[in-house]
Symmetry: C2
DNA sequence: GAGTCTTAGTTCACGACCTGGAAGAAGGGA
DNA sequence: TCCCTTCTTCCAGGTCGTGAACTAAGACTC
């Protein structure tokens, strides 16, 4: 039961945040539109905006016809006020990207790895960080923060458990902080992809949504009431290990009948192989080949996969009543591009009528490379939350 | 994207709310403890408390030894400041109860019904309301609000869909408001039972929890970040219709393999019957008899039920990572009282290690009659949120 | 092209509010 | 009687949003 007082300062910070967030998320706005949207008085908007402009967070961006009188001056968050860096730590590479506040990529650094140790990752991320800073010509003091996305469970900026990397209890933010004084944020990869979709992709505008990711494995990011829901200890969203066939196929998590064992690319290909299908090449090639095959076992496997996935979606629809489900992940996208309508129809068979009627099921818009973008969003979100106040450096 | 300004008045209301909520939820507290908990200055606490006492919301309640000096004066929400009424609208009865703010029942009125129409329910609730007001000797102006719990989907104080009652699109709050000027709140029955457990029962202190209700049917109430989670259009929590056995038993919702078809009392008894078990008497009698039977089919059915229920719990554990799951409903309690440890162990087989380790699975403490209590909590929560400001009457 | 209308944005006095500090009152024990 | 802790009271200091009056900047009118 956290209950906190409010002081006069909180009030101003909160109102700065309201204004800044509106400008950032709802595109260029005039002061006049801000007074309407925020229900602040014109005086306060003027006052707060003047402060934000003086600090350089916000800038004027041309003007637009008013309704007959003085033209409105549009305001936007100055894209070059500060820069943010996002890093994606995967099994096969470490990617670091530098963005301006409008989230344009200004520089990128990739580093291939395999099963990297924490120390290696720290090294690669820090190298990537200085490399993108140098390449973009941005001053290090201009970098607002570094967001790092790791495939694993992350609690309080530390990696608690990352099975694919074989990590456990790695204080990644702390380790990175020894090599840079740029504020570091660490979070889970699926959540970061979800965050990217929610801010800049197919989830824009939704407040209760699920970003469902189907690749080799299956995961999701939950968004409740406009912000990411993480549960009591940040491991919410493990949708892939939901039991969907009681007593069914063995999943790599040890349990039986998990959704992942049926709709994860690995599970799908296993089922295809068992049905006599021919699986050739790497997982992705084989999966795509399966999807375009017209053979008998393939058709059945695809139909079954859609059915299982639909049941998984229906469980989300019934339990969390989202307004939108965004399907992503490479396998999810490949499947969705061909079979989205069937999938939607199939969900209707498993879900309750009312919540089904309230949900729209769509595909990710940003592709699988948006993980670093999502991670880079972390410092931006913090900036917006704090009303443009800069974090303290050590 | 709701973004709202803060004004200097909001600040005071918010601080009043912080103080009042602390006093209400954390028992009698002294001013001194309040300054520590809320981090408000002693001057402000004194000021705000004086105001609350002057208005009668808060009262002094004896004193307690200090650390060597003047004793601390304890403060509590005055139980008789106002009264609240809760109503439970079920298939077989309408129950209305009047409570003081400490949630002691002062009067109760039951009215048996069967498949009541909305108009009948309105009549019974309003009769119950005046009957409990008369019986308790409370002035009608002293009644803070009326909370009504209905078994069905409720959106914005209107019943959208209540299958067991056969209702659709019933503006219940509006209809009730024509017969009383006491502010009316309408909500879903499962959520209200959940709310009661969260405030006064086994959920106390938890901020991320699920109250799982197993009766003839199966439902749940989700609590995220300290408050009830309702999804985009208030129908979240339909845990019972989660697919758990893909292509399995037909559920009354029309889909196949829903959890409810396996662990709802009706589903359990059906399975028992199919296995050759003898089902006699009404559902509840038969269910209890099954639980205490030592015959072969009974043992298997019970073990299977525990397994299915565990998978359902595991799905919750994985997806929402709650800190607590509270099992209730008459069938859930009957089962839980005998088999809670087995259930817990079984959940561990289906859930991921980490979120499983973070959850505690407990039984409801309030029994099945707490629905009206939960409903009566609605106006109390509103009072606390508004810092003790009374709602406007028409 | 001067005047007027309309809408956008700014300035300023005002009242509401929290804080910290100081002084003191209240209530008990040593 | 003295000491200690808990409240209360008071005040200056500072912050903040608001409403009303005011200025700015175009377009329209005659």
């Amino acid at each position: 039961m956290e209950v906190r007082r409010t002081t006069v300062r909180d009030m101003r910070r909160s109102n700065r945040s309201v204004i800044l967030t509106s400008i950032y998320r709802e595109g260029p706005l005039s002061r006049q539109e801000l007074t309407v949207r925020t229900s602040l008085s014109a005086a306060s908007v003027s006052n707060l905006v003047a402060e934000l402009i003086a600090e350089g967070v916000v800038e004027e961006a041309g003007s637009v016809e008013s309704e007959g009188g003085r033209p409105r001056v549009l305001l936007r968050v100055a894209p070059t006020f500060r820069y943010v860096v996002g890093a994606e730590v995967g099994e096969t590479r470490v990617r670091v990207e530098l963005f301006d506040l409008a989230m344009n990529v200004l520089a990128r650094a990739d580093h291939p790895t395999s099963a990297p140790t924490p120390a290696e990752v720290v090294k690669h991320v820090l190298e990537g960080l200085s490399s993108v800073i140098t390449a973009s010509g941005v001053q290090p003091q201009q970098v607002l923060g570094l967001g790092v996305a790791v495939a694993g469970v992350v609690e309080d900026n530390a990696v608690v458990d990352a099975q694919t990397l074989g990590w456990e209890a790695v204080p990644l933010a702390e380790m990175l902080a020894e090599g840079t004084d740029i504020p570091v944020h660490v979070d889970n990869g699926a959540n970061m992809l979800g965050q990217a979709e929610m801010y800049f992709g197919a989830g824009r505008g939704a407040t209760d949504a699920v970003v469902a990711l189907v690749g080799s494995g299956v995961g999701s990011a939950l968004v409740a009431g406009g912000s990411s829901y993480r549960g009591t200890r940040s491991s919410a969203g493990e949708w892939g290990h939901m039991t969907i066939v009681y007593g069914g196929r063995q999943c790599r998590c040890g349990a039986l009948g998990c959704l992942e064992a049926y709709v994860g690319a690995e599970g799908v290909l296993d089922r295809y192989r068992e049905a006599g299908g021919l699986v050739e090449g790497d997982e992705e090639t084989a999966f795509v080949a399966l999807l375009s095959s017209t053979s008998e076992p393939a058709a059945t496997i695809i139909a079954d996969t859609i059915g299982y996935l639909a049941a998984g979606f229906a469980n989300l629809v019934n339990l969390v009543n989202p307004e939108r489900i965004v399907l992503g992940g490479w396998a999810g996208l490949a499947l969705g591009e061909k079979h989205l309508d069937e999938l939607r129809a199939e969900v209707g068979k498993h879900a309750l009528r009312r919540p089904y009627a309230q949900v729209s099921i769509v595909l990710c818009e940003l592709g699988r490379d948006a993980v670093a973008l999502g991670a880079a969003t972390l410092p931006v979100v913090r900036l917006l939350r704090d009303g443009g106040a800069l974090p303290n450096r050590r």
